[in-house]
Amino acid sequence: MTALDTAVDMRTTLGSAPIPSPVLTASGCSAFGGELEPFVDLTAIGAVVTKSVQLRPRSGRATPRMAETPSGMLNSIGLQGPGIDGLLAEELPWLAERGVRAFVSIAGTRVEDFAELAERLRGVPGVLGLEVNISCPNVESRGEVFACDPVAASDVVSAVRAAADPAHPVYAKLSPDVTDIVSVARAVSEAGADGLSMINTLLGLVIDPDTMRPVLGGVTGGLSGPAIRPVALRCVWQVHQALPEVPILGMGGIRTGLDALQFVLAGASAVSVGTAVFNDPSAVARVHDELAVALGERGFASLAEAVGYAHR
């Protein structure tokens, strides 16, 4: 990323952690960052939000794992990953050596799993904070997704907040597949979340007209990309309206600086770029630059001034 010479102060924070750019990767959409090195200066972006990690290594689901949809895609990866040991041994040291900030996404199927992961990440070099993936619709678990129940979601968040490094901001990642996202947002904030990541994918399905069966091995999958942007923006808008003091990491279909600007105006103090990276591997850096220009053109001296500006 070539830092553009715009006058706009692009610094922001994730909870108490300062970052130089408000544009981050999205969990699961840039692996652990390394593959983007040929395309992006990883130290200049807000942070690499790592693929959600669980306690044990996971194979993920059988293929097919994706289906392209109009202006979006459906995925059902099943949280393939190295497990916390692998992450601590390989990925985080790699990022730390290079001075890349890691916002570590953690996932689990029991409250204790989340707490243990937070505990294991205490004091780890290069870790900026935690994103708690309580909303992934792809995890194979009996029962409902945590994020769909304010009580279950709060249980996870308070356990993580209690176990985590006090210096690590804890962001709860919410699912849009709920009747009332504000009530979930309120519950997890009260449970100690320092911020909210919004949104995870929408639950979707595609049927293959040839096989006449669902395309994905996992039957349903998560819908992402520009197709869902209006839903994501609505969630950010509603939650910022109700809880203006809670920091929001906005995401869902961001592809350009003007898309990111919409999230900022709706109330996000930082954004993640997910699926757009598949289309454009340099998207995270490009979105930063475009957002800086867009803010400058609109007379903002800093990103902070624009956060929530559409609610005025």
Binding site: A31, E37, S59, R61, T63, M66, E68, Q80, V277, P281
Partner: protein, 292 residues
Amino acid sequence: MSPLTAPAPRAAHPPVQRTVEVVGRRAVDAYVELTLSAPEIAERAQPGQFVAFAVGGETSALLLRRSIAISTADDGLVTVVVSAAGPGSAWLTERQPGDTVDVVGPLGRPFPDPPPGARALLVGGGYGAAALVGLAARLRDAGHEVDAVAGAAGADRLCSVQELTGIAARVAVTTDDGSSGRRGLVTLAVDELLPDAGVVYACGPMPMLRAVADAATARSIPSYVAVEESMACGIGVCMTCVLPIVGEDGRTRFSRSCTEGPVFGGDRVRFDDVGSLPWDVVGADAMGVVAP
């Protein structure tokens, strides 16, 4: 059992992303060959690698890149052979000289070098033969004897036969319907040429790769196959393109065909298990799959 093939090495150079100009377009039976002026990709490319195109232009609803094997990469020019399978590849085949396209590459791991002095057998199915043209030239230039087999459903789906004929010592052609060459599958010709081969390289549809790899492995001949698995990113960040691959430690992992492939040892791909989740894949236990 002999030790498995050495995994394909990483590419020598990282990929770049460029907007490049289409400088040539040629309809070749059922396919379209596009020539791109892409010096930075051409100079980095190694046989077996591929490129990924953004498709549909500025107003496109198709978000994901389309992966296409590099056929040749010389003098700043990259050629690809595209079959119009769906909307994205169809859009690619409609590009005209003068149009620009956004392309990322070279991607993936190249074909590894053959054992010293080995005679190489190259097997291409459909447009898969195009991916072998650059390899054939490199092998010949390195002093290896090269035989080639090109197969397809019918004559109009054969590809790069002329280019391969100019390079290989022997070229066999098979078609399912007998409309060109011999009637039958590529294995017909492969079985005849295999005894002379010291290494096999194949690119084409999965069932063909499997048959070729099995035949080679049965004779303890190392084989390398360039697979084609559905890809969302092509650069290794999405985890959609995985196959069950036996690693150096003998354990099977879901490996990304874009960055750990597309070239895999033919004996390392668990063809039988593609599309399922065998219990012995690393991390299958965490998915609730139990050993039988």
